[in-house]
Symmetry: none
Subunit: 413 residues, 2 copies
């Protein structure tokens, strides 16, 4: 069962718009048991659209198109499909009435251009548009080598999504009742490199669970290990991978590291605070992205200037003078100050050089000191994340969150 997606629109190829339909439909189809095999974007051009359909028709069982159904002259999907399959069109009374009602409710006259949107191919299943005037349709494909169905959806996400969820998904479930939803598990790993994760798990997984597909995707300080396969094997493969990776796994699915940290704090009935210099709020922002974080996250300081560090966090002037604002002792006093002033069980601090300017030979751009103060004292790590400014901030916050997570696991097991 092969599904192909054709996204139509010049804006996709000019980069004016990011194609969110591909990921939306890819995921929704997988949940229904259909794997998207190929996705193509072409412009608002009759030849290109026809070419993409011609290719797909010999390969795919189901073709889905998006876009090009609007009322204006650059919207040509329906007419291209009509010519391609030599279809006749008819006025759909339901669509015509719905569109008249649409404009009546808005107290506006229906533009001439909208009238022809009630035209649909004869023999197709019409999909009403709840949020617009362009209907979609499902066409039984006449005489392709392979393709049986062509589903034609509008481009705007708020028109496409309800149409898929309400109508096309039901049609697919009905038409293909035997599809098995595609299962996967994601293990999310913090602060271990992609190739190290693979070296640790792949041999064992391939050997013990040959039917499981293993894939990796990485961003700075984070690797997603993805397992695909039959459900019961999946569970055992996931357990095996978890055992190998141990505490390096911070969660599954799409849980973020900050959610793992907030959960641990809640479980352990502990509180946290933070004092940031170089990350400038990136750490607090991640803590507070978690709904309910206010129960355990008490607050934080963005101590961007030396003055601020001294006055608000009690960092001693002589520490900054003799070691510098970016130093192990400054990080230590920031964390101690944040813990003392907030009354939190744990306080994280960070001071470093986000760049692109401000580096020295001894402390190049990317250097960061991360401190964690707790009832057991203060730990400080010196790290080096030579990344662009935004990624440096994210990566340093990632490290801080992960050190706190590991400390929570170690202290309270």
């Amino acid at each position: 069962m092969n599904v192909e997606l054709i996204n139509i629109g010049n804006e996709l190829l000019l980069g004016l718009v990011t194609n969110t339909h591909a990921s939306y439909l890819g995921q929704k189809l997988a949940e229904l048991g259909f794997l998207l095999e190929r996705q193509v974007s072409v412009g608002d051009d009759a030849e290109q659209i026809a070419g993409a359909i011609r290719e797909a028709i010999d390969r795919a069982d189901l073709i889905i198109t998006t876009g090009g159904l609007g009322p204006t002259s650059d919207d040509m999907t329906a007419s291209v499909i009509g010519k391609f399959f030599n279809l006749r069109f008819r006025i759909d009374e339901k669509v015509r009435k719905a569109n008249e009602e649409w404009f009546r409710r808005r107290g506006a006259p229906m533009p001439e251009l909208v009238k022809h949107q009630a035209l649909v191919p004869e023999g197709s299943i019409v999909l009403l548009n709840q949020n617009g005037t362009a209907p979609g349709f499902i066409l039984p494909v006449p005489g392709g080598k392979q393709a049986r169905w062509l589903a034609v959806l509008p481009g705007p996400p708020r028109e496409l999504k309800p149409m898929f969820e309400k109508d096309l998904a039901a049609f697919l479930r009905n038409q293909f009742p035997d599809r098995t939803p595609i299962h996967w598990r994601v293990l999310r790993v913090a602060e271990v490199g992609e190739s190290v994760v693979q070296e640790r798990v792949e041999k064992k997984l391939k050997k013990e669970f040959p039917e499981i597909q293993v894939a990796y995707s990485a961003r700075p300080g984070e690797v997603d290990l993805r397992l695909l396969g039959p459900e019961e094997t999946l569970e055992r493969a996931e357990a095996a991978a978890k055992q190998i990776l141990g505490h390096d796994v911070f969660g599954g699915g799409d849980a973020e590291l900050e959610q793992a940290v907030i959960s641990l704090l809640r479980d352990r009935k502990k509180t946290a605070a933070c004092a940031e210099s170089c990350t400038g709020g990136a750490l607090a922002n991640r803590f507070t992205n978690v709904s309910g974080s206010s129960e355990v996250f008490l607050g934080g300081w963005i101590a961007y200037s030396d003055e601020f560090k001294k006055r608000e966090l009690g960092v001693r002037a002589e520490i900054i003078e003799s070691h510098g604002a970016v130093s192990e002792p400054t990080a230590r006093e920031m964390a101690e100050g944040a813990r003392r002033r907030s009354g939190a069980d744990y306080a994280l601090s960070m001071t470093g050089i986000a760049g692109p300017d401000g580096g020295t030979a001894e402390k190049p751009v990317g250097t960061v000191f991360i401190a964690l103060a707790s009832g057991e004292g203060v730990q400080v790590w010196r790290e080096f994340f030579p990344l662009d400014r935004w990624t440096f901030k994210w990566r340093a916050a990632q490290a801080a969150l992960n050190r706190l997570r590991l400390a929570l696991l170690a202290h309270h097991e």
Copy 2:
């Protein structure tokens, strides 16, 4: 001149990741004078990758692939291309040394898997990876009907983007010196709705500059107005749009609102600080995303708990008791406290209900009070952003930044 893009990765078809490469490269290529004619996503599958190349090779002058260059077993782009074109690979000493240096600087041993990443096709132009270990390469296509060049880029955006901008763009400029860049201008507008922007500018632009294409794209609290067309008309059309929109335009190109604010603060020799409750660092994080922000941004407080608001910012207990933590007077005292304690010229504060829980009939989820304290007193706005938690934080920070921007423009013109 026909350019086709092939994006490789199961994650794209399973919808686990949104394809941002297509829009990024589409835009960058247009800026260089190349129109992307087609974009295809295929999975990590040798046959599918080879199939996509086979199709493109008879149609496109230039083919770009992304993804599948990592060190793990599901990364197979280079080997598929090698087999397809019957290429020989060689160890590239520059890449090998750079990768060794990469791990040395991080004080980590180089995993075995990374070693083979120094293998590149003989006869290709190697593109060094500044942010990873997988090199890209440009291959003169041997014997396609049409295609002359195949450029192979890594998947992670932070590896792909500098590689494109530093090396591939230069190569294309050199190789195709006669391309006419496709021109556009972007005006970025803060806190005005997409349809309002359209109502204000479109009629006039269409009438006075019929050869200019006008497009809009929106995210919460921000609209990009994009004008495409011949360069000299473009300039006049941009000037006309700017005049209509006035101070609602905060910048052009890809400048973020926070950059506009930091620039204004620098120009005016003013400083800022902030005190955040519901946004939890999102505002400070945006201030500090700007390189050089430490000159004018002094610091901030994440006053997540009532205790913190009172102790660190001097919000009076009776204010919180009688009006609540989410209230006009609390926002006012937070801003005043932040200004007094930081010594900044301007202090912003925010207190609200990010949700999904914690709303009441009187103050539903999405309610936020934004205060701006300056030498001229305190202004407070009550706003309502009923959005998901992350977007609420972003939108509220957007409002705060914009109010400060408008105040800076008004006070110091």
